[in-house]
Symmetry: D3
């Protein structure tokens, strides 16, 4: 078992994918923002006419997914063919779930794109709420699903925020 | 209590800081990467000659801090005057702690810069280890300390990874 | 009368502002998107729960204002201290007015930042509506107001979309 | 008739193009800069040895076309295979016409790339001439031609500034 | 013999590659940093635990290769499939050799990506050593090898720093 | 004598400049592109109406100077107040000299900005001429002058391409 991104001498490298055939790929990632007692009711009960809180976080996440190879040094540039970001409030935990779903047809997968989208959407929520409570936490950023490529389908956890639980 | 980044009609806006006087500011943020049983020993026992795993994550985090206003829509561009990123392994939790410390002399604080540095350093670790285990989780990204500006010093938790616990 | 951005031999240069004292500056710019008969009623009568059409254009415009020195070759990087973008529908012309208001404390003005914000917000509206009508036009992008610096206050036209006419 | 970039609940999304087959595509866009009485003769009669006014605007437009997916939130990253930008002076209107022609082989079109190139080239002209007249207007940015993909060839207006009218 | 990047009237253009078939391509470039008497021994005898000097330069070079179409106005965006950067110290010349090897499957080559990677890695070395000696020089940046496309294999000089001479 | 950009444990860091007072600073850097027998006469005898060869390289260099903190990991973001780039042909050496002059008022200097401008202008020349000769070399990139800050004026070599030798 070895680090694919490190050469034998330990130096970082971008893995060679030039021999691989482009295939359809998909990744779903999720994370949670613990909003807490002060921020949660304000987010939940918002009757904001334009709702730019989630709107801004969604756009930030989509743009960040496209910036992944610029942010994560050893990521390959990929022709992303779809990005969707969904939000769901969790009353019990006073938290906000964020899920990103990314697709491509490429030689390598879009896990990092999905994880980056979730991370930056979460940071945007933090930024817009930090005037109320600086103790907000971003947590549990992880990969849920991955499809395509040599390893086929991997379901670590089932995604689907765009279904019934949606904010 | 209201969202400073939303106008009365709910639309997003970049808050006006033009009347504020630039002061010295600092922020410390931290996060944790749960490496798990497969990845932790490989990271811990690495006798990699160049150690590019932490090195790459550190550079990625530093560059990301400088990109914060490009990633987080309502953040102000700031003349960052210092960025440091530290790592510490936690044997019990098989995890890696990441701490960022950012300074500026500006009209607004650098919390988002520190949180963004931690997030992108953590994503870089995930990327370089995902070939071994895709179940790695990024968790507990939060602000520890904040100094300067109208609110003065706020210590939510005491930072200091660059001390004894350092990786 | 000469081009300040061209040296005597006609070569492009970034004008020297190092001797100028930073002062508070503001610029207001406006533009219009001619939506036409097909798109206008859909935009006007939208009872979209999250209204991400204007939300996305606003975020795109704010981010673009911060990218101005990267897009316009001879623009100076500036510490933008505020950006606001407003929209207003014009029933008679079946059009959408977009107005950007940008502030800084710097050695040079923010006209280009305001004009860039309007342009990119307008392009984003075009992008999101082009599936319905490709004949949409972006027109009348111009400076309305400018304050601060040697030339003081210049009012070419009075801004104020954030007032009564707001969408 | 619906907004393809908005999900049923009104949230923004990047449209899924992963099922589409890459085909050759082309788009031509045009816009006009109303230079006015003061600036027009200086641009027209320039006997600038290096002519960096149009040169700078052309490079800015080409670079901006490549930045389109970074500027317009829901645009897909595309492997642009050609960009050309042409200028033509219009004596009667004291204006400058700017036309961009962009090609790709991809799953979606390059309309936004051509419109973005025109917009940023126009903003660059404004920037370089604003020291002489701040009343310059950017107007009539629109799509002229589109080729390739499911909708085939669409000619809204015939392009061709690179022909006889060229500056 | 003519400049492919200039139209007949001398204006810059991005060459049309839309008719070309994507093929596997590779480029190897090299450059040298003359460190001099003060800096060379410090770099050579470093027993730095993390060796972030070369690590930082390597990451900077890899990220810069991916930014090539953003930096070099007429370069096409390409799906880079591999980047490797190698260093070798030259005792006799008190210099550091930097070699970049880049691969893609695309309609045009990656010479500029390899040259840009070498240049930015060299600038990063300069930056990190300039506190000791500002007289460091970056020199002899050139293409060594090029494979793929119409011109086939071109060996101007044989690369291979990743072999015996490696730092 | 130690590397200011490496902490005691060898890890990279962005040096703390928050205690330093902003002062006027200037840097001049130069480099040479060895064009060779095939390319030199074409560049020299160009009677190109728009001369976009040098124009494109100049714009690329100016934009790159503004991107320095994004390219060079440990560079501080700076409010650049002037950038000029000059070219001079050298008949004897069949080469092109490139000189960049950058100014700021900041807590740290602009050496890296000037060196980056020269490097990217040189790469742009290479790119536009590589269709004629791939053996072009970029060489002798170095700092000539530096003014401002604690170290005051340092003249390693006298700059001044904008004088008599200008291309």
């Amino acid at each position: 078992m070895a680090f694919t991104h490190l050469a034998e001498d330990g130096s970082a490298r971008m893995v060679d994918v030039s021999e691989k055939v482009p295939t359809a790929r998909e990744a779903v990632a999720r994370g949670r923002v613990i909003l807490g007692d002060k921020v949660f009711p304000l987010v939940k009960d918002r009757n904001l006419p334009k709702g730019d809180l989630f709107g801004a976080a969604r756009i930030a996440g989509i743009l960040a997914a496209k910036k992944t190879p610029e942010l994560i040094p050893l990521c390959h540039p990929l022709p992303i063919s779809k990005i969707e970001i969904h939000f769901a409030l969790n009353e019990a935990e006073k938290s906000l779930e964020i899920e990103a779903r990314v697709k491509t047809v490429a030689q390598t997968g879009v896990e990092m794109e999905a994880l980056t989208a979730v991370s930056v959407a979460a940071l945007t929520i933090y930024d817009m709420c930090k005037g109320i409570d600086k103790g907000i936490r971003i947590t549990d950023i992880r990969l849920l699903e991955k499809r395509g490529g040599k390893s086929g389908e991997i379901i670590l956890e089932k995604g689907g925020l765009h279904g019934s639980q949606k904010a």
